[in-house]
């Protein structure tokens, strides 16, 4: 009985927390948290699919999220014509050669017999391909990066509407996941974890260092939006009128309008994904996946193609993370590779899944909202807590100053405390698997 009520109660709680934020802080804040909460929920849905349902320990979420972000740049930014002229073709050719050499190596690996010859052939093909790629692409890359480096210096994107980047982000993440899955899915638990963690670091390294692709650490800013700009709204007479009729000043109205717009877009994506995930989970497919998670050996013996299923779910879960990544970059309107940190984009998502209840889609979604809410709100809370602790101390005392200087670090501490308390009283998550 209580168990049935858990989900509604907790979701009501989160809604309440957002309402509280809206009333006490501001609706804009509440909406910002809500929007990132939606994105977080999508990510944790993807991770839950992989871990909660298939038992795959993917600690490379960050990489897939970043790929989604890259998709937003590649789709939505306007192309940089001079850069294309300077070396776009050569770069693509170089990449194609690189890809081809890997493909050839893979076929050689399969066709040739085990032995020294094969090893040698592989090395020759791969190293040769690598150098050929470099020879062709390096000058082109230099040329591209030299074009107005402070504001472009990259190839730019396709200039399409950014919404297209969402599915494309999913596809790119899926593609990467497919390659990774093909090679690394044979690994067990923690070993797979560190492999994925490493691969995600590699993806970030590429984003940071390949300036021609997405400006590297110089960031791409001003990615076009799917929604109107606040400043434009504020100039739109019709909008101002409508806002006034609601009793809002144009600034508040425009900011709320845009955030609400994002919220609706994200919510639609989340609901669709949730519907798909729920149906999949509560079906023979979900049963098969749980069987595989419980006991791979037996599942194999019962005719289930464990390898293929693992690959399938790894690709799907990663694709969802990619979609979320594209959504996030759309919301931020910029891609900042150095902001991708495992703590934030991998471990925090894991915390969401586990706190919410792994194996349960609703739990994952709840965890996404709740943990994100805490992550944002914990900071003022930490300062508040510090204030309380130091209030009995006399002003200007060394201890007080020291403690207050440390208040900023209370965020992590408080977050840790919340996490531990939450897990202490709900070791299986807030909405556990049935």
């Amino acid at each position: 009985m209580i168990d049935r009520l858990r989900a509604p109660i907790f979701f009501a709680l989160v809604a309440g927390a957002l309402l509280w934020t809206g009333l006490n802080q501001s609706w804009n804040t509440a909406l910002v948290i809500f929007n990132m909460g939606l994105i977080s929920a999508v990510m944790s849905l993807g991770v839950n699919l992989q871990w909660g349902i298939a038992g795959l320990l993917n600690v490379g979420i960050m990489g897939f999220v970043a790929l989604g972000g890259l998709a937003a740049v590649l789709i939505a930014m306007p192309p940089v014509k001079e850069a294309w002229n300077a070396g776009g073709g050569a770069i693509l050719l170089g990449l194609a050669i690189g890809a081809a050499s890997i493909a050839i190596a893979a076929t050689a690996y399969r066709r040739m017999h085990k032995g020294l010859l094969r090893g040698l052939a592989l090395v020759v093909i791969l190293v040769g391909g690598f150098y050929l790629t470099r020879i062709i692409a390096t000058p082109a890359i230099k040329a591209v990066e030299a074009i107005n480096p402070a504001s472009t210096g990259y190839l730019g994107g396709l200039g399409w509407p950014v919404l297209i980047a969402w599915p494309v982000g999913g596809l790119m993440a899926a593609g990467a996941a497919w390659v990774i899955g093909k090679t690394a899915l044979g690994l067990r638990s923690d070993y797979l974890a560190i492999a994925t963690l490493g691969i995600s670091e590699i993806i970030i390294a590429v984003l940071k260092n390949e300036d021609w692709l997405s400006r590297g650490v110089k960031n791409v800013i001003g990615i076009p939006r799917p929604l109107p700009y606040e400043v434009d709204l504020q100039k739109d007479a019709g909008f101002i009128e409508q806002a006034a009729s609601l009793g809002l000043d144009p600034v508040t109205a425009s900011t709320l309008y845009v955030k609400l717009g994002y919220g609706i877009l994200f919510a639609v994506v989340l609901l669709i994904l949730l519907w798909l995930a729920q149906n999949a989970l509560n079906s023979p497919w979900g049963r098969m996946m749980r069987a595989i998670r419980d006991n791979e050996v037996a599942a194999r013996a019962m005719g289930k193609n464990v390898t293929a299923r693992h690959l399938q779910i790894f690709v799907l879960g990663s694709a969802i993370c990619g979609i979320a990544g594209a959504m996030m970059t759309t919301l931020d309107a910029q891609l900042t590779p150095s902001s991708y940190q495992p703590l934030r984009y991998t471990f925090l998502i894991w915390v969401m899944v586990i706190v919410g209840g792994s194996g349960n889609n609703l739990g994952a979604v709840l965890g996404g909202f709740l943990v994100w809410f805490l992550w944002v709100q914990v900071e003022p809370f930490g300062q508040f807590l510090m204030g309380v602790i130091t209030s009995p101390l006399s002003d200007g005392s060394f201890l007080k100053e020291h403690l207050q200087a440390g208040a900023a670090h209370m965020r992590l501490l408080t977050m840790g405390l919340f996490l531990l308390l939450m897990l202490r009283f709900n070791p299986k998550g807030l909405i556990p698997e049935k």
Binding site: A195, H409, L412, G416
Partner: protein, 336 residues
């Protein structure tokens, strides 16, 4: 002569730093591996445990230095180590009692432990910054070099110099000793065996009269010692800065895993594999080749296989390749 110069350049920029860094990683990896081996979870709080232990050592060293105590050529911090270990052990045991014990009782699966350790990490992280602040702290004293570049050049008359730092020497020696002792302890002593038994099958260990709480306690004590030693040595060699210890976690885990989780010898091997792969693949071989090759072959470019941008990528690629051919690491680790 030129070959010698090549060799020295190679040692100075590749071999020595890699060995020292490898030992540093190995010391960290030992702690991770031990927790994994006995308590069966990936302890993400280990980096911050190292930071905590090192912090205590730093504070004590300052105290000692203010008293004018010194160890001659060796860093004073070595004197502070034992106390640092004790305080860290206290912290870990308290954490265990307050946090982990509950999940052990409930027989929670390893990921729950992992996530819990993340929570612990957050808290320790805050704690350390809170006490000592986020900045750089220096506490090294004593003689900086065993051999310095200038001395070496003067001594040998070579064009290339060679430096070995005291801390590098200390780290390598400590790592080797610690591994040997740990290996002996786990495989030959009664307590060590009981720890392995506990990690293998908790219920059955209980039925054999092994006191699980004692095993856990001993494990944390050793982990405290390892973390403090590793943290302090690392801090001596570079400098103490809380955030770096968190960053260290990644290569440390990579080392533990390449070597095979749960296996102390693997931790050492893994540390070296990671360190060497990082340094060698991104090294610009020009300097060495200039000496080693006849003049007419002198390389025009830098002879760098990959730019250092991809340093981490390299170590992870190596890691993935190792795992593909030996799925549980070089030294056959555990898989949960």
């Amino acid at each position: 002569m030129d070959t010698l110069n090549a060799l020295v350049a190679f040692s100075n920029f590749v071999a020595i730093p890699a060995v020292a860094y490898g030992s540093q990683l190995a010391l960290g990896a030992l702690g991770v591996t031990l927790v994994y081996g006995v308590l069966r979870f990936s302890n993400f709080a280990h980096g911050d445990t190292m930071a905590f232990g090192a912090m205590i050592v730093v504070l004590l060293t300052w105290l000692l230095q203010s008293w004018g105590v010194s160890l001659g050529p060796l860093p004073t911090a070595l004197l502070a180590l034992p106390v640092g270990i004790i305080v860290t052990a206290g912290l870990l045991v308290a954490t265990d009692q307050l946090v982990y014990r509950f999940y052990r009782k409930h027989k929670s699966p390893p990921v729950i432990f992992l996530i819990v350790s993340l929570g612990v990490m957050f808290i320790m992280n805050g704690l350390v910054r809170f006490v000592i602040g986020p900045g750089d702290q220096r506490f090294f004293d004593g003689q900086r070099f065993i051999v310095s570049v200038r001395e070496f050049k003067a001594m040998t008359g070579l064009r290339e110099g060679l430096a070995i730092k005291t801390t590098q020497g200390l780290t390598v020696v400590t790592a080797v000793i610690v591994v040997a002792v740990l290996f002996w302890f786990l495989n030959k002593t009664r307590t060590g065996k009981s720890m392995r038994a506990y990690s293998d099958n908790e219920d059955l260990a209980l039925l054999s009269g092994i006191n699980p709480e004692r095993v856990v306690l001993v494990t944390w004590l050793i982990v405290a010692a390892l973390a403090t030693v590793a943290g302090a040595l690392y801090g001596l060699d570079k400098s103490f800065k809380p955030f770096v210890y968190f960053q260290l976690l990644l290569p440390v885990f990579a080392s533990a895993i390449v070597g095979g989780l749960g296996n102390p010898v693997g931790a050492i091997a893994g540390g070296f594999v990671i360190a060497f792969s990082e340094v060698t693949v991104t090294y610009a071989w020009k300097k060495v080749l200039v000496y080693a090759l006849p003049d007419q072959w002198e390389p025009s470019g830098l002879m760098q296989l990959l730019t250092t941008d991809y340093k981490f990528a390299v170590s992870f690629v190596i890691l993935v390749i190792v795992l593909l051919f030996r799925p549980t690491g070089l030294f056959r680790g555990k898989a949960l």
